[in-house]
C-alpha cells in the first residue's frame, strides 16, 4: 500500500478511530440540540450506532478482507441504529461500504464514488430530506471528494484533508440553511457528529495516538452507564441511592461470608461501610439498585433501620434552588443519571424487589409463550404508568425508553420477535425513533418467515395511545393501518419539561432552568412555575371542538399537585372532560393530550 491507496486493514483502523473520536465528543454534540430539552442526545445516538459496528469490527481478524469488513460495518451500524442522526449515519456507512466492498485497494476515485453512494443511500432513507443537517454535510463532503478525484488528486492524505476541511466549512454554514439553528446559535448536531467521525478516521490514517480498543460500555450504555459517565463530569453522581440498614444476623458471619458480602457491595456501588459483630451487621452503600443490596442481605437475616435516599433528587433540588445560575451542565448530568435508572437487567442479574412490578411484567412478556395472534403491538415509552396504560390497551411489548434513551433498530427488532403475531404494529411515540422503527421493518422483510412490521409513525405518547385505541381487531391490517394513522392526526398534544440552557426559539427567550410547554407547533409557554406553564400550554392547544383533555403526570409530580392542576383545567374548560393519569415518565412533568 502506497500513499495513494487504502487497504482493508487501514479502513478498519480508520473506522475504529472515527468511532472512538465520536464517542469522545458525544457529550459536546448532545449539547448542540436545538431544543434545550434535557433529551438532546444526538451524540449519544450516533455513538451508539457506530459503536455497535465498531464492537464487531474490533473483533475481526487482523487480515480480514474488504468484503467481510464492509459487511460487518454495514450490518453492525444498521442494527445499532437509533435516533434520526444515528439512522442516517448507518445509511451513510451502508452506502459507503457498498461502494468499496468489491475492491482490495481503494484509490481516491473509488472513495469519491463510495461517498456518492453513501449520500444517495442516506437521502433515500429519509422521507423528507432537510438541508442544513447531517445530510447536507455528507453531500458537501461527497461533492468535494468527487471534485478532487476529477482533478486527478491521488494522494490520500491531501484528499482526506481537503474533504474534511470542506465538510467542516459546510457544517459551519448549517445555521444559514436552518433558521432554528441560527436562532439557537448552534451548528447542526448530526453534521457535527459526522465531521467528528471523519476527523477521527483521518487521525487514524495519520497514525495519531488513539486508543483503539473498543469497550462494551459505549455500545450498551444503559446497563453500564455509571462506568461510562464516571470519566465525564465532576459533578456526576455515579450512584444515585444511599442505602443503609442493619442485618439482624441469623448467625455470626464467617470470614468468607463477610468477604463475599463486601465484595458484592463493591460490585454494585461505592462508599461502602460494613461493620459486623456476632449479632448485627451494619451496612451503608451508594448504589443504583438498592434492591440488590437488600436482597443479598436478606440471606443473612432480617433487616431493620432501613433508609434509602435518592441522592440525585436531593442534588437536583439543590440545583433548582439555584436557578439562573447557568449551571445547566450539572442539571443535565443529573438527568443523565436519571436515565441510568431505566431498569435494564442483563441475563443472570438478580432483579431487585423494589422494581418488582416492572420486572415481573417484563419477565412475563418474555417467558410466557404468547398465544399466536394475527396482530400484535410493540411500543416505546418511559415511565411505569405509561407502560401500564399501554399494556392495558392491549400492547404486547413495551420497550422502556423514549426521551432520554432511544431504542435501537435491534431493540425494536428483538421486541417484535417476542410478539407471537403475524403482523406487529410498532408505535415509536417519538420522532427520533420512527426512523429506527422503519429500519426494523426493512430488516424483518429480509428475514425468513412471514412476520411483518407496520410502523405507525406516532411522535408522542398521546398519539400512541390514540393509535392503539383505534385498532379494531376484526378489521384488516390495511384498514387498521389507515385508521390508526388517521387517528394520530386527531389528537393534539403538549409536553412540559425544563430548559437545560439559555436560548431563543420562535422568538421566545428561554433561560436555563425555565419550564417549557412544548406543543405540536413548538414552544407554547415558558415560565418559572410548572403549573402555570402547563396551564398556559393547555389553553394554547385547546379548541372548541375538543371533548377530552388527558393529563399524564410524570415521576417528579405528586398526585396532589397533579389533582390541583386537573381541577384548574376542569374549571377553565367546563364543557370538556378532564382525565388525570399517572404516567411516571421522567423529565416531562406533564404530557397532555386534547381530542
Amino acid at each position: 500500500m502506497g500513499n495513494n491507496t487504502l487497504n482493508a486493514k487501514m479502513i478498519s483502523k480508520m473506522f475504529l478511530a472515527g468511532a472512538k473520536n465520536l464517542d469522545a465528543k458525544k457529550d459536546w454534540i448532545n449539547e448542540l440540540n436545538v431544543f434545550p430539552v434535557p433529551d438532546g442526545d444526538t451524540g449519544t445516538n450516533m455513538t451508539m450506532t457506530i459503536m455497535s459496528a465498531a464492537k464487531d469490527v474490533s473483533q475481526l481478524d487482523e487480515n480480514t478482507d474488504m468484503q467481510t469488513l464492509c459487511k460487518t460495518i454495514s450490518t453492525g451500524s444498521l442494527r445499532g441504529a437509533r435516533g434520526n442522526s444515528g439512522v442516517i449515519l448507518s445509511q451513510l456507512l451502508r452506502g459507503f461500504t457498498k461502494g468499496i466492498k468489491e475492491y482490495d485497494e481503494l484509490d481516491t476515485v473509488i472513495l469519491a464514488a463510495a461517498c456518492e453512494k453513501a449520500v444517495e443511500t442516506a437521502y433515500k432513507a429519509v422521507m423528507k430530506p432537510k438541508e442544513g443537517t447531517i445530510l447536507t454535510v455528507a453531500k458537501g463532503a461527497s461533492e468535494k471528494a468527487t471534485e478532487l478525484a476529477n482533478e486527478g488528486v491521488t494522494d490520500i492524505d491531501k484528499f482526506l484533508d481537503e474533504v474534511i476541511k470542506y465538510a467542516d466549512e459546510v457544517l459551519s454554514k448549517t445555521p444559514d440553511m436552518l433558521p432554528v439553528l441560527k436562532e439557537a446559535g448552534v451548528v447542526d448536531s448530526g453534521g457535527q457528529g459526522l465531521v467528528q467521525v471523519l476527523k477521527g478516521a483521518y487521525d487514524g490514517f495519520l497514525g495519531k495516538e488513539i486508543d483503539l480498543s473498543i469497550n462494551e460500555e459505549s455500545a450498551t450504555p444503559v446497563a453500564n452507564a455509571p462506568k461510562m459517565k464516571a470519566k465525564t463530569e465532576e459533578a456526576d453522581i455515579k450512584f444515585g441511592y444511599c442505602t443503609e440498614f442493619i442485618v439482624l444476623l441469623n448467625k455470626p458471619l464467617n470470614v468468607k461470608q463477610e468477604m463475599d458480602f463486601k465484595g458484592f457491595l463493591e460490585s454494585i456501588g461505592d462508599s461502602i461501610v460494613m461493620v459486623a459483630d456476632d449479632e448485627i451487621c451494619k451496612v451503608h452503600v451508594h448504589s443504583n439498585d438498592p434492591g440488590l443490596a437488600i436482597q443479598r442481605a436478606l440471606k443473612y437475616g432480617q433487616l431493620s433501620n432501613m433508609k434509602i435516599d435518592n441522592m440525585r433528587m436531593e442534588h437536583r433540588e439543590k440545583l433548582f434552588h439555584e436557578t439562573g445560575d447557568g449551571k445547566w451542565l450539572e442539571i443535565k448530568t443529573e438527568i443523565n443519571g436519571a436515565a441510568e435508572q431505566t431498569p435494564t437487567y442483563r441475563q443472570g442479574d438478580t432483579v431487585p424487589l423494589m422494581n418488582g412490578s416492572t420486572a415481573t411484567a417484563g419477565a412475563k412478556e418474555v417467558e410466557e409463550e404468547m398465544p399466536h395472534k394475527d396482530c400484535g403491538f410493540v411500543t416505546v415509552c418511559a415511565g411505569d404508568g405509561l407502560a401500564e396504560i399501554f399494556r392495558s390497551l392491549g400492547v404486547d411489548y413495551v420497550i422502556e425508553g423514549g426521551q432520554t434513551m432511544n431504542p435501537s433498530t435491534e431493540d425494536i427488532l428483538n421486541a417484535v420477535q417476542k410478539v407471537n403475531a403475524d403482523t406487529v404494529f410498532v408505535l415509536p411515540n417519538n420522532k427520533n425513533i420512527i426512523l429506527a422503527a422503519n429500519q426494523a421493518q426493512i430488516l424483518v422483510e429480509d428475514m425468513p418467515g412471514d412476520k411483518k412490521i407496520v410502523v405507525i409513525p406516532t411522535k408522542n405518547v398521546p398519539q400512541g395511545v390514540s393509535a392503539v385505541i383505534n385498532y379494531i381487531p376484526d378489521a384488516s391490517v390495511e384498514e387498521n393501518t389507515e385508521a390508526m394513522t388517521d387517528a394520530i392526526g386527531g389528537v393534539k398534544s403538549g409536553e412540559v419539561t425544563y430548559a437545560v440552557r439559555d436560548t431563543v426559539i420562535d422568538g421566545i427567550e428561554i433561560k436555563s432552568g425555565d419550564y417549557m410547554g412544548i406543543g405540536d407547533a413548538g414552544i407554547q409557554s415558558v415560565g418559572a412555575s410548572i403549573e402555570e406553564v402547563t396551564f398556559e400550554m393547555i389553553k394554547k392547544i385547546m379548541s372548541d371542538d375538543l371533548e377530552l383533555i388527558s393529563i399524564y403526570y410524570g415521576a417528579d409530580i405528586t398526585e396532589d399537585v397533579a389533582a390541583k392542576l386537573k381541577m384548574r383545567v376542569e374549571a377553565e374548560f367546563s364543557s370538556c372532560d378532564v382525565e388525570l393519569q399517572y404516567g411516571g415518565q421522567p423529565i416531562y412533568y406533564y404530557i397532555v393530550s386534547a381530542e
Binding site: E388, I389, S392, L393, G394, V465, S466, I469, N470, Y471, I472, P473, D474, A487, G490, E547, L548, S550, D577, E579, Q581, E595
Partner: protein, 292 residues
C-alpha cells in the same frame, strides 16, 4: 288462509300503544327492582327506570314466566280467534326466554300453532322482524313459512353500540371475555357489536365523536360489503339509544348525512338491554329487507 298473530316481547321497543296500532302483540318483560316486581311499559316507564338505575338500585331482569306466556298464547288462540302465532322473542344469545318459549311451544296444545322464531334480533332489529312477519302474514304465508324465512336471514343484520361507561356491563356480568378486556386504566367508550348471538367488543374510542365515527363507518362497510351496497337501499336503517334522546337526535342527523336517502327509525333501547349497558348509549343498526 289462516289467521296469524305476530307476538313479540317489549325488548323489540314496540310499546303497548304502538303494538295496538301496528297489530303486533307485545309481552312485557318483567323486572325486579329493589325487590319490587315491574313490567315494562305496564307499570314501569323509561323515566322511572332510569331514575331507579341512577340511584344504583338493584335491577334484575328475568324472562316472562311460562305461565304469563301461556296465558297470552291461550288468549290469542282461544279468545281472539287466531289460528297460529309467530312469536319473536329477544335474541337467544342474550336471554333464555327464547329457549323456554320454544320448549313450551312443543307442548301438545301449541304444536303446529305457536312458532317461536330464534333469529337473534334485539331492539330495533327485533322490531323490524315483527313488521316483516306481519307483512309476510298479510301476503298469505303460513306461520311456519314466516318462521323459516326469518331464521334463514337471521345473520343479515348488524348492530353497533357505543357505551358511555363499562360500569353496567361489568355489574351485570353479561360480557364476553373480549368485551371484558376493554376495561382499562383510561376512560374509554367501548363500541360493541351484535352480529348474531352475542354482544361483543368491536372497537374503542376516547371521545363520543370518535365512537360515532367508528359506528357510522362500520355500518356503512357492512351495508357495502354484506347487504348489497349503499346505493341498493336494501336495508332498514335504525338508531337506538338509552336515556339521552337529544344526543340520539344529533347522531341521527350524522347518520342521515353519511347514508343519505334512508328512512331511519329511532327508538329508545328496551329496558332489559338498557339495564346492562346503562344510560348514554347510542346504537346504529341495520337489517336487510326480507324478500319473499
Amino acid at each position: 288462509m289462516s289467521k296469524i298473530a305476530v307476538l313479540t316481547d317489549s325488548n323489540s321497543g314496540i310499546t303497548q300503544a304502538e303494538g295496538t296500532e301496528l297489530g303486533i302483540y307485545v309481552v312485557p318483560m318483567p323486572f325486579t327492582i329493589d325487590g319490587n316486581d315491574y313490567f315494562e311499559d305496564i307499570n314501569l316507564t323509561q323515566d322511572k327506570f332510569y331514575e331507579l338505575l341512577g340511584n344504583d338500585a338493584d335491577v334484575m331482569t328475568s324472562q316472562p314466566s311460562p305461565d304469563s306466556l301461556m296465558k297470552i298464547w291461550d288468549k290469542l288462540l282461544n279468545e281472539d280467534g287466531y289460528d297460529e302465532i309467530v312469536y319473536i322473542p329477544m335474541s337467544s344469545g342474550l336471554s333464555g326466554s327464547c329457549s323456554s318459549a320454544y320448549g313450551l311451544s312443543l307442548e301438545d296444545q301449541y304444536e303446529d300453532k305457536v312458532f317461536v322464531v330464534d333469529n337473534q334480533r334485539i331492539s330495533v332489529t327485533q322490531r323490524q322482524s315483527c313488521i316483516d312477519a306481519l307483512e309476510m302474514a298479510n301476503a298469505g304465508m303460513s306461520a311456519s313459512q314466516i318462521r323459516d324465512k326469518l331464521v334463514e336471514v337471521k345473520f343479515e343484520s348488524s348492530i353497533y353500540i357505543m357505551l358511555d361507561t363499562l360500569y353496567y356491563l361489568k355489574k351485570g356480568g353479561r360480557i364476553t371475555p373480549a368485551a371484558a378486556a376493554l376495561g382499562t386504566l383510561l376512560r374509554l367508550k367501548p363500541v360493541l357489536t351484535i352480529q348474531g348471538e352475542k354482544l361483543d367488543a368491536f372497537a374503542k374510542a376516547r371521545t363520543s365523536n370518535q365512537g360515532k365515527t367508528i359506528m357510522i363507518n362500520a355500518i356503512k362497510k357492512d351495508i357495502e360489503e354484506r347487504f348489497g351496497g349503499v346505493d341498493a337501499h336494501d336495508v332498514h336503517l335504525e338508531i337506538a339509544y338509552t336515556f339521552d334522546k337529544e344526543t340520539a337526535e344529533a347522531f341521527k342527523k350524522e347518520v342521515a348525512e353519511a347514508l343519505p336517502g334512508y328512512d331511519i327509525h329511532m327508538d329508545p333501547l328496551s329496558l332489559s338491554v338498557a339495564c346492562h349497558i346503562g344510560p348514554g348509549a347510542l346504537a346504529v343498526a341495520c337489517s336487510r329487507k326480507v324478500h319473499f
